[in-house]
């Protein structure tokens, strides 16, 4: 390459030109690579900035200070508790809890209390100056006046984390979806990880290389490539229609996702087992250990970090999956967190999908906020996997 430093017959203008062209091409190629990487990473940055930017307002909720009339009539008609003109300013989700509250605290009746209460989502959006807030001009004037009197404030939106889905955006949260996600993921984990690891052990350590084994191998690769939505069709046909698992339940979703995750875990586990050098197995056999003892006591512990990493990545993928759940009925309106795996549940990605289709503007920021929560969880899982891989990686 640096033969140009040595004077010889090849030094000619033509050669220099050619050399230069080649070197330019060389550095261009280098730059292509950098650009490609840069583009991908730039997208990543753009994406996160955009999502975070959209999500941040969702963590604040507007509150208004209004007169609440604790009157007898409010027990049956909660609209009576506020002035007529403020009925659309105060959150209805809060108002409708009044009758129950009043029945529990009868001593409040007859009082007139000035207090901070959550505002309607349209007011909230108007205060946040979002396009499409949907607040009628009549109420805009009222809200403007209240703002001037200092009767409007923004507080941390704790409800977003403590309540379930709601048709009133100011009351909508991700709690029930998060619980549903945990249930579903637990089932996926309990089914997919053991079966996946066992399959991989069988294929790597126990099976002879016969026709059947080869069919299983090809088949597992195929399964990994099958579109997730087809797993939904499978789940619908087998678990719901055939086995009678309740539609929309965490069990139905978890089982479906388990089948989907299985090939990922099997492939990762096989790779981990393969990376354990055969000298270890031979040494164990040499000491009279059986196949099972060798695998259980020597190979598996060494392959554990790889298996863990693969399982975590597989589960993270299952956690973000929506398409098959659409088919097994988990994209539904489920405001209460499920108590057990047979109850109707929804999951975070499904909640995101539902909110993305809602008409009120306030759902848009909540969608972004739910995305942010989901991404945080998934990225921590992936980060954990990367950490495990790095920390326990052993070179033989």
């Amino acid at each position: 390459m640096n033969n140009s430093t040595q004077p010889n017959n090849f030094i000619s203008d033509e050669k220099k030109l050619r050399q230069k062209r080649r070197e330019r091409a060389d550095s261009r190629f280098h730059w292509y690579g950098l650009t490609a990487l840069g583009l991908a990473l730039a997208f990543l940055v753009f994406f996160f900035v955009d999502i975070i930017g959209q999500a941040v307002p969702a963590f604040y909720q507007t509150e208004v200070k209004v007169n609440i009339h604790y009157v007898e009539a409010a027990k049956t008609n909660y609209n009576k508790a506020v002035d007529h003109k403020l009925r659309r300013v105060v959150s209805r989700a809060w108002l409708r809890t009044l009758p129950v509250y009043l029945k529990r605290h009868p001593e409040l009746i007859g009082n007139n209390i000035k207090q901070w209460v959550p505002a309607d989502s349209r007011v909230d959006q108007y205060i946040k100056q979002h396009n499409g807030h949907g607040l009628k001009s009549k109420y805009q004037r009222i809200v403007d006046a209240m703002a001037e009197e200092g009767r409007i404030r923004q507080v941390f939106n704790i409800r977003f984390f403590t309540s379930g889905d709601s048709k009133l955006p100011e009351n909508a949260g991700i709690f029930s979806a998060a619980v549903g996600s945990i249930f579903t993921l637990l089932i996926t984990m309990l089914i997919a990880v053991p079966i996946g690891v066992m399959t991989a052990i069988y294929l790597e350590e126990f099976s002879e290389d016969n026709h059947f084994t080869r069919i299983i191998e090809v088949n597992i690769n195929n399964l990994a490539a099958i579109p997730s939505i087809l797993y939904g069709l499978l789940g619908l046909a087998i678990f719901i229609n055939f086995a009678g698992v309740p539609r929309s339940s965490a069990l139905a979703g978890g089982l479906t996702l388990a089948l989907m995750t299985l090939p990922i875990i099997i492939i990762a586990t096989r790779a981990a087992l393969q990376s354990v050098p055969s000298s270890i197995r031979e040494a164990a056999f040499g000491l009279g250990a059986s196949r099972w003892q060798t695998t259980w006591h020597h190979v598996l512990p060494l392959a554990m970090p790889g298996i863990l990493t693969g399982s975590i990545i597989g589960l993270a993928q299952a956690m973000g999956e929506t398409a098959p759940l659409l088919i097994v009925g988990m994209v539904a309106y489920v405001p209460d967190a499920p108590d057990n795996i047979l109850e109707a549940a929804t999951v975070l990605p499904a909640q995101i999908y539902t909110w993305a289709g809602e008409s009120l503007r306030a759902y848009e920021e909540r969608t972004a906020a739910a995305i942010l929560v989901l991404l945080t969880v998934l990225l921590s899982l992936n980060g954990l996997a990367v950490y495990l891989r790095k920390h326990f990686e052993r070179r033989w």
Binding site: N77, R92, A93, R96, T97, P99, V100, G132, G134, G164, S166, K167, L168, L190, I191, P194, A243, G244, V245, P246, R247, S248, L251, G329, V331, A332, Y333, V334, P335, D336, L342, E343, A344, A356, G357, E358, S359, L360
Partner: protein, 345 residues
């Protein structure tokens, strides 16, 4: 680990075996139309937050999907209530009967108006149903009404000189949508039923919508249509009245035969593009699942579907007072629908 695993497997299989036997359920399951879904889930939420009952689970499966699940049988795995943006069909009723779902109560909760809307910045437009037909049908009569030809119209003034020279572009619901069904019924089938040139060509209920890009199916997400309309100012959009009410700052409705969509015009029948919204109760579940009647009563309460009700707030067009009372009494006595009812329609 192996031991725990074996126990776990046993537990799983035991669990599977028990599932079918878990016949008790304390949470109402509702499925059905995406049009009724907002009102149904709103009511469900109110029931959950103001009473001791659990919040019912509402799944938007579409009217057809809802009927299929609803009619599958009486087991606790089947839904208790299905919403529909059209009436149950006699075939669906028969299927219900076959599967042992004998006693069904039909309730109408209100109307859904279909609005033809455009960007607020665009000059107002008045259309007739016939003009709409000529704009969207795949085949239209030739000028002399002798034969059917492929739809040649690309500008409104080609259909009627009275109309502006404006490109025809209509964003509307896709094939699977109930709103599309209703639109086809009211615009296409209604007009072509007695139109000689269609009948001569062998069509009694012609309802194929053109596919050359003038009619743009746009998904169930009506919100996106609204957004598109604000950008594409020449276009019209077809969607549920609730979205019009929600977005009056951005879009305005075209008048149909001189009438603008509004609760009053839908109720008195002068606005022609509207349909009834239904829900169906499986009577055999009323005793088994707590809260079904409470849910239905709450839904039918003035507070929800009355003129000033909360559902009206989110876009439901209320029934006239006497109709509301009529269906309330239906609910009270749990009137069963019979096969003869379908003939009357």
């Amino acid at each position: 680990m192996k031991k725990q695993y074996a126990i776990l497997m046993a537990a799983t299989f035991l669990g599977l075996a028990f599932i079918g036997q878990a016949e008790a359920r304390d949470q109402i399951r509702i499925v059905g139309s995406s049009t009724v879904y907002p009102f149904s889930s709103y009511t469900a939420e109110t029931l959950g937050s103001t009473t001791k009952f659990k919040t019912p689970v509402v799944e938007s499966t579409g009217s057809g999907g809802g009927m299929k699940l609803f009619c599958a049988g009486n087991g606790m795995n089947t839904p208790d209530i299905t919403n529909a943006s059209r009436r149950m069909k006699s075939t669906e009723y028969k299927k219900c009967q076959e599967n042992g779902v004998k006693d069904i109560t039909e309730i109408v909760v209100g109307y859904d108006g279909i609005a033809i809307a455009q960007s607020k910045t665009t000059a107002a437009i008045n259309l007739t149903r016939k003009e709409l037909l000529l704009a969207v049908a795949a085949k239209v009569p030739s000028k002399d009404e002798s034969v059917l030809v492929n739809n040649p119209y690309y500008y409104w003034n080609e259909i009627n000189a009275r109309l502006p020279h404006r490109k025809i572009a209509i964003y509307g619901p896709p094939t699977s949508s109930g709103t599309r069904d209703a639109f086809e019924d009211m615009i296409l089938k209604h007009n072509t039923k007695h139109w000689k040139v269609y009948n001569d060509a062998g069509f009694k209920h012609f309802h194929a919508i053109r596919q050359d890009g003038v009619y743009i199916p746009s998904g169930e997400n009506d919100n996106l249509i609204v957004r598109k309309l604000t950008k594409d100012t020449a276009a019209l959009g077809i969607f549920g009245y609730s979205y019009l009410a929600e977005n009056t700052d951005k879009i305005s409705a075209a008048t149909i035969e001189g009438v603008a969509p509004a609760p009053e015009t839908v109720q008195d029948g002068s606005y022609k593009l509207s349909r009834s919204l239904y829900f169906y109760i499986k009577q055999s579940h009323i005793k088994k699942v707590p809260g079904i009647l409470e849910y239905a009563n709450l839904f039918m309460n003035e507070r929800m579907i009355g003129d000033e009700g909360e559902c009206a707030d989110i876009g439901l067009i209320p029934l006239p007072k006497e109709m509301r009372d009529h269906y309330r009494s239906h609910l009270k006595s749990l009137v069963r629908i019979k096969l003869e009812d379908f003939a009357k329609k």
